[in-house]
């Protein structure tokens, strides 16, 4: 298993390299003239353009430029955002933290709820409960997440006026101490609910299928034959096994959940990566856009490796295999 993880880590290197090259191509080939990409679509005096061209080595062969880009990346230099007056990497990392603040609780809630829904649906396959849960999760796959966000705003902020429509904190009379925490949580509820509803659909579907598959296994039959209660079999025997595909799907859908978070943020004006993305589009801040692409694709690679590690922690059989190898040695 350790070997497996090691090969995964090694394999990540060429993937990240390809992502970096793609990110380079985005700015240098698609954009045509990278100078406008560097300074934005502003009218600039020709001397300034010439200086930038020389400074960034844009008059050199493309391979030389690519090499320099990769070396810069390796040193953590993703360029400079003129619109925000700070290095792109710092900017992205500070905003990514705010996005994670929204994403992680939502994904945890979705996983727990989804597993419970799967456990509830599978043993009653074909019943009304099962049909409802299956139907809901199908619906979740087909709803544009930003529309779900809009519906929540219209229902709970506009009509009922229970919830704040946007932002992360109250800007007027900003509270302090514990009240600030409460205020933050209060703002978190709606965007988090939105992402949770969306991902519950994904998790419930997988959990249901996994539990359904386990129900027909011999070990479950054995447990039943030993006279264990349904509840005990479900929670102690089936759940641990069914968790494995759930972990996989949650971990491997990191890219799509990041996309979901970005779109949700734009509706709720949550000041994370999504808001940065949209404002960078409006300001034509190309280095930031390029940086967000690079960051999110790399984050997906990292999330996939982490998933493999969690997978190993969750699956007891993989532990035993390792123990056996040690015993043989």
């Amino acid at each position: 298993m350790l070997r497996f993880l090691l090969t995964r880590l090694l394999w990540a290197v060429p993937i990240v390299l390809v992502i970096a090259v793609l990110s380079f191509m985005l700015l240098h080939l698609v954009r045509g003239d990278p100078v406008t990409a560097l300074i934005g679509d502003f009218p600039a005096p020709p001397e300034y353009v010439a200086r930038i061209r020389a400074e960034f080595g844009l008059d050199e062969p493309i391979m030389t430029q690519l090499w320099r880009y990769l070396v810069n990346l390796a040193q953590g230099n993703l360029g400079f955002s003129f619109a925000n007056r700070m290095p792109v990497l710092d900017l992205i990392l500070s905003r990514a933290r705010i996005t994670l603040l929204l994403m992680v609780p939502a994904l945890v809630a979705a996983s727990v709820l989804g597993v419970i829904m799967g456990l509830a649906a599978a043993p009653r396959a074909g019943s009304a409960t099962d049909a409802t849960i299956t139907g809901l999760s199908l619906l979740g796959h087909s709803v544009p997440i930003f529309w779900l966000a809009q519906l929540l705003v219209m229902a709970f902020a506009v009509q009922l006026q229970w919830m704040p429509a946007s932002g992360m904190i109250t800007l007027r009379d900003t509270p302090t101490g514990w009240q600030a925490v409460a205020d933050f949580l209060w703002h978190l509820v709606m965007p988090m609910t939105c992402i949770t509803i969306y991902y519950v659909a994904v998790v419930a579907r997988v959990a249901r299928a996994a539990v359904l598959e386990m129900l027909n296994r011999d070990f479950v039959l054995t447990a039943m034959a030993k006279g264990l209660t349904h509840r005990r079999v479900l929670w102690r025997h089936i759940l641990p096994n069914a968790l494995i595909p759930v972990v996989t799907v949650v971990g491997y859908s990191f890219g799509s959940s990041l996309t979901g978070a970005i779109l949700t943020e734009t509706v709720f004006a949550w000041p994370g990566l999504g808001s940065l993305f949209v404002s960078s589009i409006a300001m034509r801040d190309y280095p930031v856009l390029q940086g967000i692409f690079l960051f999110s694709a790399t984050a997906v690679v990292v999330a996939n490796i982490l998933t493999d590690m969690v997978y190993w922690l969750v699956d007891p059989r993989l532990h035993r295999r390792r123990v056996r190898v040690v015993a043989n040695a």
């Binding site: 394999w11 060429p14 993937i15 390809v18 992502i19 793609l22 985005l26 700015l27 698609v30 954009r31 045509g32 990409a37 199908l138 619906l139 796959h141 087909s142 709803v143 544009p144 930003f146 529309w147 809009q150 519906l151 705003v153 219209m154 506009v158 429509a165 890219g255 799509s256 990041l258 996309t259 970005i262 779109l263 734009t266 509706v267 993305f277 949209v278 960078s280 589009i281 409006a282 034509r284 190309y286 856009l289 390029q290 967000i292 692409f293 999110s296 694709a297 997906v300 690679v301 996939n304």
Partner: protein, 274 residues
Amino acid sequence: MRKVWRQLRAQPIGLVSIFIVLALALVGLMAPILAPGDPNELGQDVLQAPGPGHWLGTDDLGRDVLASLIHGIRVSLPVGILSAAAALLIGIAVGAIAGARGGWIDGAFMRLTEMFQVIPAFILAAVLSALSGPAEWQVIAVIAALSWPQPARVMRGEVIRLRQLDYVEAVRCLGISERRILLGEILPNALAPVLAVGAIIVGTAILLEASLAFLGLSNPDVVSWGRMLNAGQRYLFQAWWLSVFPGLTIVIAVLSFNLGGDALAAALDPTAKP
């Protein structure tokens, strides 16, 4: 053909979904005749709630929401279907070759699909649109380029499974070339599950295109569902109909493709019981 129809009739939800897809396509084709007026025609009745005259209301420029929805089909459906078709073509070709050849070709292919699957399609498409200006063909190209691994994996699995079956072995004994076995015997039987994946890609593509337009990354002169939701975002507090109807239309379209694809695949499966 009759057998396929009988299979479909046994799945009412799937059948309804397929009819909805066909109806959407038909309405989209005949949009200029069917739509109540030109979607770009500005009117005096600004932000009017749904009612007689404008069934689904009007937007901030007095444009009819229903007319816009109908014309929006002409963006969403072609983008969805073309990107899925392109992804299927690449996926079927690559998957069939990998499954049939095996060996290092297969290994290289599996590594390649992993590489494509880590790139978040939406973010790539959005950055691309922001950098070089919005264009529908770009959206199609990005979706096709990033979603072919899915059908390819399914195709590869099917080819590997079918190759070992007795009927293929029997054909092989007749001295027919491997290429002809692959094209004539294996491919037709492997298509059904691949088609279901294709229908899901259509749905994903429609959602992705709408997301881009929602962020303003689409041609502002073209009416589309995502664009309408973008406008709706500005009037969440005043005009619920600007958001509710386009979103509902997207959900119905995507859901119909997903369910219809599943039903069609089940009906086309040659091993299904009649």
